[in-house]
């Protein structure tokens, strides 16, 4: 088990991480999720041993890893730009770490072939890496970091360089391959959908600290702060003192707000009236925008108070500009911290 306690780091005057604590259990995939510049890549680099000036303590199975140089940690790191060695073939890249282990040529070759099979690139072993497509490069990079059987696998935005379609598909595949290898993994991404698909647990980061750390579904249902909610794409976040909320708050049990500065109206609890939910609040709203997304519509409707609500419907009940009776699940009202 990898345990990070009270980790802080700065680039000169710029504080990149402050008091980060985190644990990765054996065989678990933890996603570091956050906007760019939040310190997630720095955290990876520190764990990998590529950054050495930090405060705090990182232990692996109880042993402090600070004195261990990067090349002796036995942690696999998959780089955002893949960092494939351009002068080596696909197989040469994968074999690089095996050679450092002193594995014999035959054994190394066997392992390279089995890894190529595992990532679905059997025929490409002698290919020049420059001629590989983005998805193929990503697989070679994965196979290379898996090859020396790392004690911990770290992936830095591994799908960031790929297009959206490929991303969805490969996220699932990554999870399968990591789980099959039985590895503990830290997975860095800024895409919450990717994090949901891959992670066992998610640590949402912002400005150098972990803001929430939980299972994916829990994080989606109960974001802990306005930042987390907004970052997950939950747009109905309002200041608790917003006048447009007054009617709603009157209906709602005031004690629920507990003085929280923000209120999230979770889109999952916004429905068309009559679709169930007995104790729901109901009010009229005008549909202001509707975007067809294939399987559903993304709607914005404005209540009489001027409160705009974003939510999702399978079908468009009335045309744009038409009125709609909306029902709100009381559980959808979530007080948030900063």
């Amino acid at each position: 088990m990898l345990r990070i306690a009270g980790l802080s780091h700065a680039y000169g005057d710029l504080i990149s991480l402050r008091d980060v604590s985190l644990a990765v259990k054996d065989g678990e995939i933890v996603c570091l999720l956050g906007p760019s510049g939040c310190g997630k890549t720095t955290l990876l680099r520190i764990i990998a041993g590529l950054e050495t000036d930090y405060e705090g303590r990182i232990t692996l199975d109880g042993d402090d890893i600070r004195p261990v140089p990067a090349h002796k940690r036995g942690f696999g790191l998959m780089f955002q730009d893949f960092a494939l060695f351009p002068h080596l073939s696909a197989a040469g890249n994968i074999a690089y770490g095996l050679k450092r282990l002193g594995l014999g040529r035959e054994k190394a070759n066997e392992r390279v072939q089995s890894l190529l099979r595992r990532v679905g690139l059997e025929d490409l072993d002698e290919r020049d890496v420059a001629s590989l497509s983005g998805g193929q490069k990503q697989r070679v990079a994965l196979a290379r970091s898996l090859a020396p059987n790392p004690r911990l696998l770290m992936l830095d935005e591994p799908l960031g360089a790929l297009d959206a379609l490929l991303r969805d598909q490969l996220a699932l595949e990554l999870r399968r391959i990591i789980k099959e290898a039985g590895l503990s993994a830290i997975y860095v991404t800024h895409d919450h959908r990717e994090a949901y698909a891959v992670a066992d647990r998610i640590a949402v980061m912002n400005i150098g600290s972990v803001r929430q750390h939980d299972r994916p579904r829990q994080i989606y249902r109960r974001p802990a702060s306005a930042f987390v909610a907004r970052f997950l794409g939950l747009t109905n976040v309002f200041s608790a003192s917003d006048n447009r909320l007054a009617n709603l708050l009157r209906l709602m049990d005031d004690s629920k707000l507990k003085g929280a500065p923000w209120l999230l109206i979770h889109p999952a609890g916004v429905r068309v009236a009559g679709d169930g939910g007995d104790d729901a609040f109901e009010f009229d709203a005008t549909i202001e925008s509707a975007v067809f997304r294939g399987g559903h519509f993304d709607l914005t409707a404005v209540a009489a108070s001027g409160l705009p609500l974003s939510f999702r419907l399978r079908e468009l009940p009335v045309e744009l500009g038409g009125d709609l009776r909306i029902s709100l699940d009381p559980d959808a009202l979530i007080p948030l911290g900063d």
Partner: protein, 554 residues
Amino acid sequence: MKRRARDYWGIVYLVPLVFLGVFYVYPLLSILDVSLRPAGVLDLTAFVRLLTSDYYSGTLLFTVYQAALSTAFTLLLATPCAFVFARYQFRGKTLLLSLATLPFVLPTVVVALAFATLLGADGLFNDLVKTLFSLDYAPIQLERTLAMIIIAHVFYNFAVALRIMTSYWSSVGLGIEEAARCLGADELALWRDVRLPLLRPALLSAGALVFIFTFTSFGVILILGGIRFATLEVQIYYQAVNMFNLPLAAALSLVQIFSMLAMMVVYTATQKKLHLAPVSSKTTAKRAKSLVERLGLNVCVALIAILLFSPLVALILRSMLAAGQLDLANYASLAQKSRGSLLFIAPLESVFNSLRFALMAMTMALILGLIASYMIKRRGRLSRLLDPLFMLPLATSAVTLGFGFIIALDEPPLNLRASWLIIPISHTLIALPFVIRSVLPSLRSIPPSLREAAQTLGARPIDALLTIDLPLLGRGIAVGATFAFTVSMGEFGASLFVAQRESVTIPVVIYRLLGDPGMTSYRQALAMSVLLMLVCAAGFLLIERLRIAGVGEF
């Protein structure tokens, strides 16, 4: 552990700095010292003479004048050719562009001699015209004229301007011109309002570079012009070697050094703008379709071919033919030391000298250049200073360097004046910027993540250096090595100062042979020039083969 590794690198990093300090800064300081305090006390006589004498201000004026003329003619010729290269696709384009660069690596003595054999009174061109029109006098009288010098300078620098402008122009998309056309611009307006204004950064940059090269031109002027056309560079040599007026030579050198520094500042400023090509698009070249286009293209190609090959062909023919007959006696006689010659050795022995010195200079320049490149690449305030620091030898004329060497390194503990070591050392200094400019782009293009990836895969820093850096630097190193070798083989200005008696190099031997009386020495000089040309051409071909996009910043 880590601390010790850092200290170790610190010591390695000192090596190129010490080299630069001892063999560059110290000689230049010596020049300053000799010019200001010729007899140990402050004495500005030399400067007063420089400033008050019409003769020496004339030297400076002429230096600027011939450089300006050479630059103007080079740009005038290179601009339309660059347009053709950037805008039209045609067969053999890459080859021609590559071949057009050949003169740039040819030693100045070879180029000077080549033009003498082409355009001299007994040159190939005059012979041809005489035969064609049955004349009994030489119609072209260019020997020892400014025109001859300018022509040789254009030959030399044409490719430099062509390459800079072609590469810049190619990165400017055709879209801009098409937009202007749609807005009603005719061909004239296109040139006036679109093409030339867009090309401005490249014109300025190429112009500045050509001006610098011709400002410091030495071999061409010494051989084709003589003392009548003395530039600063020739005057320094003349004052130091012929008149033994070291204070005056030093004062002239000082003027030279400061002019060069000023010009390098201008050049660097123009170069910065060069990286900002305004708009780029994929289609920048098309096929020549109309009659005018095809005519222009053919004229341009023919012009380059004639400019490029005629002097070289003249040199080869003249070296092999005497009185219309094949005569290789001059080649055969190269192995013998002729009596009454200014030379202490047989001409051919200088080939071994040159090869030996070139290999040594190449090795030293590579080692120092690699270390320096690693120093420069590390980010930080220091490295920003280091890059221009290591480029300084490039901004110092060869004659100034040679002069600095003989006045600085002539007493213990650094008494190298009489040692042949002084030659490869001076060549190393001159080749060092070329090596750095070849290696540094490759080094910078290696993303740090590659080294880090190797580390996370279990590679020690030294493993990463050997298995990642070196293989990826391979081409850059090879290009740098070839540059260093070729530069050393052809180096003339500094060698003329420092090469003594038995240790003379090929270019020095050629110059000495030209000074010897008689046709035999002259024809031997031609033969030696052909040999040197072949060696440098071979080096050049190797560079061109190895050079890939992004390697070498010239």
